[in-house]
């Protein structure tokens, strides 16, 4: 009983323990300012993971997120001079659309999301390569600051990226916990057939979940390209696996219906702390991968709540 109750809290306990371990090596790490900035720096990855959470929450996965973000960096850089701040709307709409296509392929053509999103990601990548002319592009600093300067910098020590992340988190949390759509996504994740037999338009909401995932991926790409002041069809390489890891370590299992966006916040922080710990623990260059793999195994072993997983596949 008590253990069962405790399990819910394992993810953040793991996070705190990790932070304390690193803090023991170097107390400086524990400075609130440092931790806040660490959280701010993980923002693009976290935002992508937020979207990924929705896809995983319904029992699917979105492997197109990184390619969509790649494409977005290119499109954002191209459209910035044309539309200014409204280029954000354009790229977010495009991300939403790509996600919706993944959803359509999954629900209508019955191609598992693992494959469907991988394939749609290929299309996004092609669009990005084509639009960029296979070159790295950069934004005009003035234009960027006028349109999106508010995304960067910090106020009273709080990075704006962190604020943006938390706003998006609140938005996603509200959808998940307070809106009809979120309830339906949960039902789809936990028992799709019963959801269908309750007369829910399940397919629409699955498409919505993937579309939102695409949208968040686009926002992540946008933020990243603003941060880097440019775009290229490979700029967001290396986002995908950490984003998935963040979701899973946070305690949203691939089986769906359990966990959620708050968990992903914790998961993303765990990823950030583990990465930073390489520096603080002085892990040699050739051992960093092993270290990451092993810490990952330990973290997942600690964080996942197996009580709702009847079988572990």
């Amino acid at each position: 009983m008590t253990l069962d109750r405790l399990k819910q809290h394992f993810p953040w306990v793991t996070l705190v323990v990790l932070i304390l371990i690193v803090g023991a090596m170097d107390p400086n790490f524990l400075r609130p300012q440092n931790l806040v900035e660490l959280a701010g720096d993980i923002a693009p990855l976290f935002i992508m993971a937020l979207g990924m959470t929705l896809a995983i929450y319904i029992g699917g996965i979105d492997l197109s997120a990184q390619s969509v973000a790649n494409m977005t960096t290119v499109l954002a850089t191209i459209t910035l001079p044309l539309f200014g701040v409204f280029s954000a709307l354009v790229v977010i709409a495009v991300g939403f659309l790509f996600g919706a296509v993944s959803g359509l392929v999954t629900t209508r053509l019955k191609v598992p999301s693992f494959i469907a999103t991988l394939a749609v990601g290929g299309i996004a990548l092609s669009v990005g390569q084509f639009a960029s002319g296979q070159r790295a592009l950069y934004m005009d600093a003035g234009q960027r600051d006028r349109a999106f300067g508010w995304m960067l910098g910090s106020t009273a020590g709080i990075p704006h990226e962190l604020v943006l992340s938390l706003v998006l988190l609140a938005f996603a949390w509200f959808i998940q916990n307070r809106m009809k759509a979120g309830r339906i996504l949960k039902a789809v994740g936990a028992g799709e057939l019963a959801a269908v037999a309750s007369g829910l338009r399940v397919d629409r909401y699955k498409i919505l979940a993937f579309a939102l995932s695409g949208m968040f991926a686009a926002i992540a790409g946008l933020l990243f390209s603003v941060k880097l002041s440019g775009g290229s069809p490979t700029l967001a390489e290396g986002f995908l696996l950490p984003a998935i890891v963040a979701v899973l370590v946070g305690g949203t299992p691939l089986t769906g219906g359990v966990g959620g966006v708050l968990n992903t916040l914790i998961g993303a922080m765990i990823v950030a702390v583990v990465r930073a710990s390489m520096l603080y623990l002085d892990i040699p260059a050739t051992s960093q991968q092993i270290f990451f793999g092993i810490v990952l195994i330990v973290a997942i072993a600690l964080t996942i709540d197996r009580s709702k997983m009847r079988i572990v596949k």
Binding site: L63, F114, V202, K313
Partner: protein, 321 residues
């Protein structure tokens, strides 16, 4: 005859049909495509990938997934090259022992993968993903990031010597594929993969030691990865940390394109053969017909969706995620 053309049959043969259509299409655009020499080229590119895909097929049949292949292949490749060099560097001598040693390494790595998954009760997706990082890291530790050359002419004859137009490595792959088929259809463990994929809790209640089956499955997959690693080394003569690069998504895509269900219980190694060929024919064909490089990812995506769409029996599926 009418019987042959039922929807069931069409779906069963859809992957093969897709393959044939692709071959016909590419040949129509560039007749050079249809030649033994080009088929040999496709075969060379396909052999390591096929071994990896056969390995992961077993895991997918159980309804699990294995994402450790890139790490596993890296470890096996560099250890093979290391053993091989240490044992004299020739297949004609004690160097031959490097082959079983590497298969053993693959088995051990696979078994650890399975044990982490089963003993720590971590979903295979996560366990194997993490083990993939460990594998890459391990190979990095072993090599320090350097590449190891394998230049023994006898070993390289796997690539350079041809029989009937195809290099020897193709035949090695075919033999391994037959072994995979034998395991799948005629051994207890192979049938148990299907049992676990069809209903793990039911299999357990029937007295099957499901955890043991799982671990053995990952172990067998590891052996196939080791084979794939050695063939990859045979193909370019270099063993390095990135020998397995890109194999993860490609091999799983191949398995699914071939018609093996991602949720387990149906499909098998022949499907995987077709799937690997489809993916490699597309890769080769797109260059051969001169598609601009920037559209290739997108076209591959579209073709993959089409292939999976055609080979899925949607009637028996209540839903797909």
């Amino acid at each position: 005859m009418a019987n042959m053309l039922t929807q069931d049959n069409l779906q069963k043969w859809a992957p093969l049909l897709v393959l044939v259509v692709l071959v016909v299409f590419f040949t129509a655009v560039n007749p050079n495509f249809l030649s033994i020499r080009n088929f040999a080229r496709i075969a060379i590119a396909s052999t390591p990938a096929l071994m990896i895909a056969v390995g992961v097929t077993f895991v997918i049949l159980m309804g699990s997934i294995d994402l450790s292949m890139e790490g596993s292949v890296a470890v096996c490749a560099v250890l093979f090259a290391t053993f091989f060099a240490a044992l004299g560097g020739s297949l004609a001598g004690p160097g031959l022992l490097a082959v079983p040693a590497t298969l053993l390494v693959g088995a051990v790595f696979g078994a650890i993968n399975g044990l982490v998954h089963v003993k720590l009760r971590i979903p295979s997706f996560m366990a194997s993903l993490s083990m993939g990082f460990v594998g890459i890291g391990l190979s990095l530790l072993i090599t320090g990031g350097d590449r190891i050359l394998v230049e023994d002419p006898l070993f390289r004859s796997l690539l350079t010597v041809r029989l009937g137009g195809f290099p020897l490595m193709t035949y090695v792959a075919i033999v391994a594929l037959l072994a995979g088929w034998f395991i799948q259809n005629h051994t207890t463990i192979g049938r148990n993969f299907y049992a676990v994929g069809g209903g793990e809790d039911l299999a357990h209640a029937s007295g099957l030691n499901v955890n043991k089956v799982r671990v053995i499955c990952f172990l067998i997959a590891g052996v196939f990865y080791a084979l794939g690693a050695m063939l990859a080394v045979a193909q370019i003569g270099i063993a390095e940390t990135v020998t397995g690069r890109n194999l993860m998504f490609v091999s799983i895509t191949s398995v699914v394109v071939g018609g093996t269900a991602l949720w387990g219980g149906s499909g098998g190694v022949w499907n995987t053969l077709i799937g690997v060929l489809i993916v490699n024919v597309i890769g080769n064909g797109m260059v051969v017909i001169g598609l601009p490089s920037y559209v290739q990812d997108g076209v591959l995506g579209l073709l993959v969706i089409t292939a999976v769409y055609l080979s899925t029996d949607r009637r028996s599926l209540s839903f797909v995620k």
